[in-house]
Amino acid sequence: MSFEARRGEILGFLGPNGAGKSTTIRILCGLLRPSGGRAEIAGIDVARYPEKVRANIGYMSQKFSLYSDLSVGENLRFFGGVYGVRGDRLAKRLAFAVNMAGLKDREDTLVADLSGGWKQRLALGCAVLHEPAILFLDEPTSGVDPASRRRFWDLIYSLAGDGVCVVITTHYMDEAEYCNRIALINAGKLAALGSPSELKRSAIHGEILLIEGDDPGGMLEALEGSPGVHDVAPFGSSLHIVVDDATRDQPAIEALLKQHELGWSRIEPIKPTLEDVFVQLVGGDRARAPGS
């Protein structure tokens, strides 16, 4: 696997469970030695100088790793100590983190009493106390509601704006859309690398037809496995169908639906979603690319 990420860039790691996302991050954090190849973080070779690497990185996992029975302030001071932030600098960074998390005047609140979104912003504050150049976020928004997630991403953008390189893993496509570039990882290899628009424009084979109707289950049964239809995926009352050429194949699809006496309210070619891209590139046998 080869790639690079710039300062101020937000790079998303996407891939199925077991694809190698966490292993890659562990190597980059200096926690695992690569069996071959070389990785540099802020110009430092991770296999040779793992301690030096750790001073340059921040890490936040999906579990948030906060101490529930300590207060907001105590958690921050604890992590400041771990990262060796002291004296005036500690006071400054504590103020920064408390402000960023929106927890001003709540420094004495126990972490156990904070809701998911607050905990998440506090965990982020803890991870950047030592002003790391690179920030690793491992599924940071699991179980956080949409409004809190947007606020969290505002913070990520402001850190990136200050020049921090952010590497983030996620299983959610709505979140992947926030990344500047996406590395799609499958079976330990890079399956694709590019911006969300680039991936949607050019990473997949074939085109997507959207069909909306009263009986998506019936349409799914009728269309799955029929000639020219490479994949069918249900979305609410509609289906995404992968075909070679949407304009050319649409009449045949309509004929097939009529034959099964299935009505539709809408049928049209659409741009693929990131999920369409993901499923085709890493989907295994049920989402084979046309021609394969």
């Binding site: 409004a147 299983h171 500047n180 499923v279």
Partner: protein, 318 residues
């Protein structure tokens, strides 16, 4: 779907208090057989509480719940066999194999070996789990565990299926498998209720209820809800997202700017009218962009806009 059908679930004026504060403050809704109803809302809005009330894991303080026309509060035992509840962490036995877990749940509900085998074979095949039937549950990936949990939850052919955050931490391929099974169930007339905080999942529901502080603020189909979005969205594709934001903030008619990975979403009052003005503002500041177009709002755009709108209107109400 015929109009005359008895709803699978009918809920009126549900109230649940924990200590003094009500967690659910008068929620009413119904769900027809074959429908997928999604509850969406911020943390603490009451999504999980509603699921537990419907599953008869706890009793409401006020209101009524009818499952297939039967009073679920007066007679929870009678409806229990018709309802299946999959909490966020489904209780699989990690040291039992996939098949043994299914057998255990089948016995619990008194399912014959013949019916069990028929259903297990179908659900496992639909989710790509057939090769793993002899594997221990503890050795499965997160997505596989969820799919096995669903198979176990469905082994007694429930009429109502309750799913709390069913695919948290599950990759998109497994998530599609999971939903494939759910769509199969719709055709059997199962009513499905999903609590979720992810747009990926909300988009797949036939109707959505937006909860906030124990109240249902909005309830309708995703497309009708999207039409509620105040304003329209213009997407500007650019690698210089922050410069784009600076260029367009403050222009007349711009109500909000959201940074995305390689684009900026600008919420405006009238896309047709404002597109040219945005383009002009960027040219004036020499901000380069690769594309500009009107896009339809996502469910996430809508909910963030409705929720923050509520906050603002309650803050400015005199």
């Amino acid at each position: 779907m015929t109009e005359a059908q008895t709803p699978a679930i009918e809920v009126h004026d549900l109230v649940k208090r924990f200590g003094g504060a009500p967690a659910i403050r008068g929620v009413s809704f119904d769900c027809a057989p074959g429908e997928v109803f999604g509850f969406v809302g911020p943390d603490g809005a009451g999504k999980t509480t509603i699921m537990r009330l419907l599953a008869a894991v706890m009793r409401p303080d006020e209101g009524s719940i009818a499952i297939e026309g039967m009073d679920a509060i007066a007679d929870p035992e009678r409806v229990r066999s018709r309802v299946s509840y999959m909490p966020q962490r489904f209780g699989l036995y990690e040291d039992l194999t996939v098949d043994e877990n299914i057998e255990f749940f089948a016995q619990l509900f008194g399912i014959s070996p013949h019916d069990r085998e028929e259903r297990a074979t179908r659900f496992l095949a639909a989710s790509g789990m057939t090769p793993f039937r002899k594997r221990r549950a503890g050795q499965l990936s997160g997505g596989m565990k969820q799919k096995l949990g669903l198979t176990c939850a469905l082994i007694h052919t429930p009429k109502v299926l309750l799913l709390d955050e069913p695919t948290a931490g599950v990759d998109p391929v497994s998530r599609r498998d999971f939903w494939r099974i759910l769509y199969g169930l719709r055709r059997e007339g199962v009513a499905i209720i999903v609590a979720t905080s992810y747009l990926d999942e909300a988009e797949r529901c036939t109707r959505l209820g937006l909860l906030r502080e124990g109240r249902m603020l909005y309830c309708d189909t995703p497309s009708t809800l999207k039409a509620l979005m105040p304003g329209e969205i213009i997407a500007i594709i650019s690698h210089r997202a922050r410069s784009v934001r600076e260029a367009v903030v403050g222009i007349n008619g711009v109500k909000g700017v959201i940074l995305m990975g390689d684009s900026v979403h600008v919420v405006v009052d009238d896309a047709a009218r404002r597109t040219q003005e945005l383009e002009a503002a960027m040219r004036q500041r020499s901000v380069s962009f690769d594309g500009i177009e009107r896009i339809s709002p996502s469910i996430e755009d809508l909910f963030v806009s409705l929720l923050t709108g509520e906050e603002q209107s309650s803050a400015t109400r005199q």
